[in-house]
């Protein structure tokens, strides 16, 4: 896939800052996040809870409600800024240019409408097709996500589907208007592992088929490593590392990334103890000075408390925000 070609990037996010102004202080959920996605690329956005990864997804779609606010930065979809665009333009973008798959397939479908009606709505809003053509498009799409007897199932309600089937319906809805970008927020977290592998295969096939791009938001590095072309790691609202998937997984430069990878037990080797990252994620309303990760980092030195590390180029084309990055193969 195309890499680092700024002029061909489908989506460019620059210095995005989304804050939530609460009574107990300002939560800087996303604080200066930048990345790019080319056409046909899958980008994994990973991090632990509170890292800000979902807020990035919601910001792109303009779904941040009060007390949250996009304080600054740019979100360029094919060169057009979505931050400054009006609600009318965003409504045109949502569903047609960018669509979203949420974690919980039960709550992202309306229980009062049939699946067919919810699918039809997308086409009614985003296409000029007549009713019979829309119906045919819905049937075809439902079949392509692996639901048999599609015409009949269109008349069913969400509760009549199992969890895996519902997520297939959600994916079908997301793909219907042929969007250029799909944002999938923990799309398989609520599913069993055999169903998860079915859904991941399906999403991969659909994207390749339509030439769409995807942002895959997940806490699960294993899922992301099997799906994404490149990965962006978030910690406390900042990008701490990004790079091509294999390089980032095998030779990460940031101690947080290394720590995350090492703390995943793996069936291919047996260790007596898992290496663990000490402590827990700091209170995001009250972040430490300097590097956000320094309290949990075994490599932290005096400099880390004084100065926030900028994102700088590392080995293998990785970018990492660390004063004392790891060399390839180096352990914590």
């Amino acid at each position: 896939m195309m890499k680092d070609a700024a002029n061909t990037a489908l989506l460019t996010v620059r210095n995005l800052r989304t804050y939530f102004h609460t009574f107990s202080g300002t939560v800087r959920a996303v604080d200066g996040v930048s990345f790019e996605i080319g056409q046909g690329e899958v980008m994994g956005l990973v991090g632990e809870s509170g890292g800000g990864k979902s807020v990035v997804g919601f910001s792109i779609l303009g779904l941040i409600d009060s007390p949250g606010k996009i304080e600054g930065g740019e979100i360029l979809l094919e060169g057009r800024d979505l931050v400054t665009a009006g609600e009318d333009h965003l409504r045109h973008v949502r569903g047609r240019e960018i669509s979203m798959v949420f974690q919980d397939p039960m709550t992202s479908l309306n229980p009062l409408h049939t699946v067919g009606r919810q699918m039809d709505e997308v086409l009614r809003l985003h296409s000029d097709l007549r009713a019979d053509a829309r119906h045919k498009a819905c049937v075809d799409m439902l079949e392509s996500v692996g639901i048999s007897r599609a015409a009949e199932r269109l008349k069913a309600y969400p509760h009549q589907f199992s969890g895996g089937m519902r997520q297939r319906v959600v994916i079908a809805i997301a793909m219907l208007a042929n969007p250029k970008l799909i944002i999938a927020d923990e799309p398989t977290t609520a599913l069993d592992v055999t169903i998860q592998s079915q859904i991941l295969k399906l999403m991969r096939a659909q994207i390749a088929d339509k030439g769409a791009s995807m942002i895959l938001i997940t806490h699960d590095l294993a899922v992301v490593s099997e799906m994404a072309d490149h990965i962006t790691v978030l910690y406390c609202g900042n990008v701490v590392e990004r790079g091509a998937t294999r390089d980032l997984i095998e030779t990460p430069a940031h101690p947080y990334t290394r720590g995350l990878i090492d703390s995943i037990p793996d069936t291919s080797e047996r260790l007596d103890r898992l290496s663990q990252i000490p402590g827990s994620v700091p209170d995001i309303r009250n972040l430490p000075q300097g590097c956000n990760f320094r309290d949990r980092c075994p490599r932290a030195q005096a400099l880390c408390a004084q100065k926030e590390p900028p994102l700088t180029p590392q080995h293998n084309g990785l970018m990492a925000a660390c004063h004392f990055p790891l060399h390839p193969g180096e352990r914590l």
Binding site: V193, S197, Q198, S225, T267, L274, V281
Partner: protein, 342 residues
Amino acid sequence: MTQAPVLDVRDLEMHFAVGGGLLDRLKLDAKGIRLEKPIVHAVNGVSLSIAQGEIMALVGESGCGKSTVAKTIARIYEPTKGKIRIDGKDIANFGFAQMLPVRARMQMIFQDPYASLNPRQRVRDIVAEPLLEQTKIAQERAAVPEKIARLLARVGLNAEHAGRYPHQFSGGQRQRIGIARALSVTPGLIIADEPVSALDVSIQAQILNLMKDLRDEFGLAYLFISHDLSVVHHIADKVGVMYLGFMVENAPRDVLFARPRHPYTRALLSAAPSVKAKRDIEEIVLTGEVPSALDLPSGCCFRTRCPFAWKKCAQERPQLQDVGDGQSVACHLIDAPERDTR
């Protein structure tokens, strides 16, 4: 070692009658009108045994009955059938009062660290409660606060945490409180129902390490329920794989991961994502979904999704049989290896 196992379960069955209105249950067929009583067959004849210091994991997907097994052994449910022996004593039919001393031997850790702690109790009271239930002698009760302080320190919390309420803690810390509570009565067996699945991966590693250390220190036995194969591989000594309320395979960990025999186990292992570059494993992709426990398929429970299933599988239910190395498998393929085409 011929030591009696801490936990020995034989042919455990747990069926739930589900409600529904009178009209839902009325069925009209050729024989006339009759009243049906729908039954969920959650656990169908599960046997297992855990020795002191041993960790046995139960894996399977949602609805396979692994949590029900755990809760039935803990006697949160009344078992329909079968024997549950703790230190050789069958507790399957024990009443509430009889269970009290048993609870000093067997404790439980729950999945959700938010829902399993009383939000109105301070940490020290939460951790002390099981212990105070067990000791009614004033002298012994006087020693409780000190023991609680020691326990909290052991699970990685400090003294000032004892006076706080659960909402003041993160998920990982809450799970530590849950572990301290389970340890307060110095049990021999801990039943842990998905203890790390609600936690972030860096915190998950902390809790898994803690649970392993405690096993070594106190000689605990664990029944560890999880859907996550990599977690199970890390912590368990032996593994039982469940599907639709049946134990389909049961083996020491290394044997199971090196040589899974049941098609469902093989499918589970091949579906699990991994950060490491893919190992050379066969890929069995399952189609379809788990059938309803209200209406079990005839014969083998797995045949509706099994890529190898043939006529015999619909007619005869395969029994667990020993295939050596402590591995037992419930599958007709064992007797018909020529049908295993992969």
